[in-house]
Symmetry: C2
Subunit: 201 residues, 2 copies
DNA sequence: ATCGCACTTGAACGTTGTTCATGACCATGC
DNA sequence: GCATGGTCATGAACAACGTTCAAGTGCGAT
């Protein structure tokens, strides 16, 4: 096995074990020594595969994004009218809630993690995010056909942010700690309200 | 000076210095040794005034909530009609954005901080939050007079959560990193859309 | 078989938050 | 004024963290 192959294998093992640890204990559950032991390597070996633990977290987070994309299923087909567009937006919002509930700590890691050096996320990470935002842009374009693409992209991100806020604070055991069914209803009410309100510009 | 008075004085000094440190460096900027030096006491003294550093953070966060309440000005008077209610909701959302921009790290600490033991926030903290949510419930009740109080309270919290999401992800330098003026417009668009969409149940 | 180099190793380093034996200090009683 | 008792602040010490790097191991080439 070449050195490159070994490094790749180590990377895979590390990410898989890190994923398990984060799923079990959140971001604080990822500890260098424990990770090394789980992956069957020395602590120092982690730093041959990743620049630091934040790099490991980033890799895990990418897998989480992929998992979410898979959970969304294939992209929606043609959306007939504004009513169907609103339905699709509600469906996406509730799918987001379902995913957050199914993988609470992994999902939490997506947003709680901050790169230490204040740098922006790497391109491959941003690209994955963009693919997910496209899911929102599609029904939004049906709802507001006259919107320029830049404005549609922007509005889609704000729609996501709003839904994210409802889910994040709603599920947070230290903030609202709402039952899932209640959050589900709130998403339905507010996303539908936004869709209805956006329809007439 | 009695022991209680001294402890209170120490508490005040610690909170003031901790506030400065968090404002300068966020939650990671609050370090026990540095705080003790700034407050002119020994590290151990911190633990005579607070159970741990999280207690200090909680006290700072309460001050931040008070600061935000002050920034909102006195509660709105009677709200004439649904149009005025929508205006007020937009105003509150944009005031929230302004505050987050004016005190980014202190505001960040409000949401990034997690109590370690998984316990809920203390009552005095929840009470202060409730006073702020009441600001949203007021115009919302004008918009939807038929709503039961529990539903109004719930919807107000979700409205806040949505706006919080737009502000938090919009300002986050590692996520959207949008210019403030853009976020301001997005709040206007979406809050107005929600208000319009909510008007007809 | 021997040599040389690259890569893995894990003890060590610097920083955390938190604790607790120590000693200083002050109020009280004689 | 002095001895005494108890209370409280002190900061060195501890455990746990991420990260590093001198040292050693092992593999491939000669």
């Amino acid at each position: 096995m070449s050195a490159d192959e070994r490094r790749r294998a180590l990377r895979d093992t590390l990410v898989a074990e890190a994923e398990r640890m984060i799923a079990a204990g959140g971001l604080p559950g990822l500890r260098a020594r424990e990770l090394a032991q789980a992956a069957g390597c020395a602590v120092g070996a982690i730093y041959t595969a990743f620049p630091d633990l934040d790099g490991v977290v980033l890799a895990v987070n990418l897998r989480t994004l992929n998992l979410f994309e898979a959970a969304l299923g294939p992209p929606a087909g043609r959306i007939a009218d504004a009513g169907a567009a609103a339905d699709e937006l509600v469906r996406l919002g509730q799918a987001y809630l379902d995913f957050a509930r199914a993988h609470p700590l992994r999902w939490d890691a997506l947003f709680r993690h901050r790169a230490p050096s204040g740098q922006r996320a790497p391109d491959w990470y941003v690209a994955e995010q963009a693919r997910l935002f496209a899911r929102i842009e599609q029904p939004l374009a049906v709802l507001r056909p006259e919107l320029a693409e830049t404005e549609c992209r922007l509005l889609a991100r704000s729609l996501f942010s709003a839904t994210h806020g409802i889910v994040a604070l709603g599920l947070d055991p230290q903030r609202l700690a709402l039952p899932a069914a209640v959050i589900r209803d709130q998403i339905e009410i507010l996303v539908r309200a936004m869709a209805a309100g956006l329809r007439r510009p």
